[in-house]
């Protein structure tokens, strides 16, 4: 029973990281109908930038904020320079560009930093909290993950629900042509959307690094799990990304704990298949619009 409890806590902490990456994928997918396969690698690259800053003596929080800003810039630049010119052609083209970007980012990190994995410092202690005399599998750092991700989710929700900018972004995502006819500068908002996804991707990179073998490829699995989470959540809903992330995190934690950690990716695949068979449109998909 106490093992189950530990696996659950572990699953929640990891699930939050997957939810963050899932949110990044959702932000881009719902605006441009593109799966950004480079999202994880971009987060890896910005985390390496954080690594460089930290090893030069920059304070953790300065590096943290700076890297989120850089993540925004990389995301926005990718949309403006690489994705925008492909608009109006087959939707496969930009997806292939993102796969190319994934290879470029990982190659770049390998060329600069080497392919060996190393340690990445956490903002807080990674030893388990003590509750009532026993140590639980939830550290100060896990609490930080929980707070950071929930803050990001809440921020996204407030932006979309309650601000004029969010209304413009939703209109752009749902109906680009109508939004333009109503005076919405759609191009600017698409760039902004990719930038926001870049922030989420960078955050996922920073949060995943301390608990994984930090190297050019440590985000590959996070991308796979984040993608699973996004699909379970319906690919278009930020709330779905959060719930999907938690489901994925818990499922993988139980598979790893009870069946062996080598089976974790297989567990994610099984989860993805079950989810697609049971509810192909995802848990939080929009209801099909009524046609009159």
């Amino acid at each position: 029973m106490s093992l189950f409890f530990d696996y659950t806590l572990d699953g929640i902490a990891n699930g939050m990281v997957y939810a963050t990456l899932a949110l990044a994928l959702v932000l881009i997918y719902r605006a441009t109908k593109i799966i950004n396969f480079a999202q994880g690698a971009a987060g890896m690259l910005t985390t390496f930038i954080a690594f460089s800053l930290l090893s030069r003596g920059v304070g953790y929080w300065w590096a943290f904020v700076l890297v989120l800003v850089i993540g925004f810039a990389i995301g926005a630049a990718c949309e403006r320079i690489l994705i925008r010119p492909l608009h109006g052609r087959s939707e496969l083209n930009p997806v292939i560009v993102t796969i190319g970007l994934l290879v470029v980012f990982e190659g770049l990190a390998g060329a600069i930093y080497g392919n060996a994995s190393r340690g990445f410092p956490a903002a807080f202690s990674q030893s388990g909290l003590r509750v009532g005399g026993t140590t639980i599998a939830f550290s100060h750092f896990d609490v930080f993950i929980l707070i950071a991700v929930l803050a990001l989710m809440a921020g996204t929700l407030v932006l979309f629900r309650y601000t004029a900018l969010g209304l413009r972004m939703r209109a752009t995502a749902f109906s680009r042509e109508i939004a333009r006819l109503l005076g919405v500068r759609v191009g600017l908002l698409l760039t902004l959307g990719w930038g926001l996804a870049g922030i989420a991707g960078s955050l996922a990179g920073l949060l995943a690094a301390p608990t994984s073998s930090f190297g050019p490829y440590y985000m590959d699995l996070v991308l796979v799990y984040g993608f699973t989470a996004a699909v379970i959540g319906g690919l278009e809903s930020p709330v779905g990304a959060l719930v999907g992330g938690l489901i994925t995190g818990l499922c993988i934690s139980y598979v790893g704990g009870y069946l062996g950690s080598g089976l974790e990716p297989l567990g994610a695949l099984a989860l993805l298949m079950v989810a697609l068979m049971a509810r192909p449109e995802g848990i939080f998909a929009r209801p099909p619009a009524r046609r009159v």
Binding site: L167, A171, F174, I178, G183, A289
Partner: protein
């Protein structure tokens, strides 16, 4: 005043518009009539910037429109209501209206403008917080018309507003369009398949046939010309 001159549009090998020219006066409704495939929708989409023409010019109050971004043309006071009731179904009625006010009204003016528009369409008042996907065809048409008027446009482009509506609703809609136009400086271009009801509210009529202007005359004259009506408008 809207001035369209020698406008030609091609989609690949198909030429949709052949050197189309006409004027639309402020304070009047100009009907653009014709059969399916005559190029009516393409004409409106070219004016609002959604379609790039091969040649020709479009000026509104002297300013050229062609070559500008769709959103820039919208911000010049051009409201285009596309065919098929372009509500954004995932947004609520109120959000659909608010979206159109974002670029032109201050924050404190928006709520008043939305209330005023809902006053024009009392049916929508009860649905303001409902998603637009739950509206009927007539209600959607009211919403898009209200959304087009809320930004106080100088040029209103309406594409088949009567499509699929009951005759009574169509009549109300046409009366509203006329009321919004007469005595103001609003220019309205009304594309319609339903020629009879369009002519009843229009001041001027342009008939397109296979992408060419075949008639451009006062609406009353067109309505009175039996041969013309039979030949091009089918009634």
């Amino acid at each position: 005043m809207l001035e369209v001159r020698d406008l030609s549009v091609s989609f690949g090998a198909v030429q949709a518009l052949h050197s189309v020219s006409f004027d639309a006066e402020p304070g009047a409704v100009t009907a653009v009539l014709g059969a399916n495939g005559a190029g009516k929708t393409t004409l409106l989409r070219t004016i609002s910037g959604l379609v790039k023409p091969r040649e020709g010019s479009v000026r509104f109050d002297g300013d050229p429109l062609l070559g500008r971004h769709v959103e820039t043309i919208a911000r010049m006071g051009v409201s285009h209501v596309p065919e098929g009731r372009g509500v954004i179904e995932e947004l609520t009625v109120e959000e659909n209206l608010r979206l159109a006010t974002l670029w032109c009204l201050r924050k404190r003016e928006r709520q008043a403008a939305i209330a005023e528009t809902l006053g024009l369409f009392p049916r929508l008042q009860d649905f303001r917080r409902r998603h637009a996907s739950t509206l009927s065809g007539g209600e959607r048409q009211m919403l898009v018309l209200g959304r087009a008027l809320i930004s106080r446009p100088r040029l209103l482009l309406l594409d088949e507003p009567s499509l699929g509506l009951a005759p009574l609703v169509t009549a109300q809609l046409m009366a509203l369009i006329r009321d919004q136009t007469e005595g103001t400086d609003l220019t309205v271009v009304l594309v319609e398949q339903n020629a009879r009801s369009a002519l009843s509210v229009s001041h001027h009529a342009v008939i397109l046939n296979l992408g060419q202007v075949v008639v451009s005359d006062a609406a009353a004259t067109v309505a009175a010309d039996d041969a013309l009506r039979h030949h091009y408008l089918g009634f």
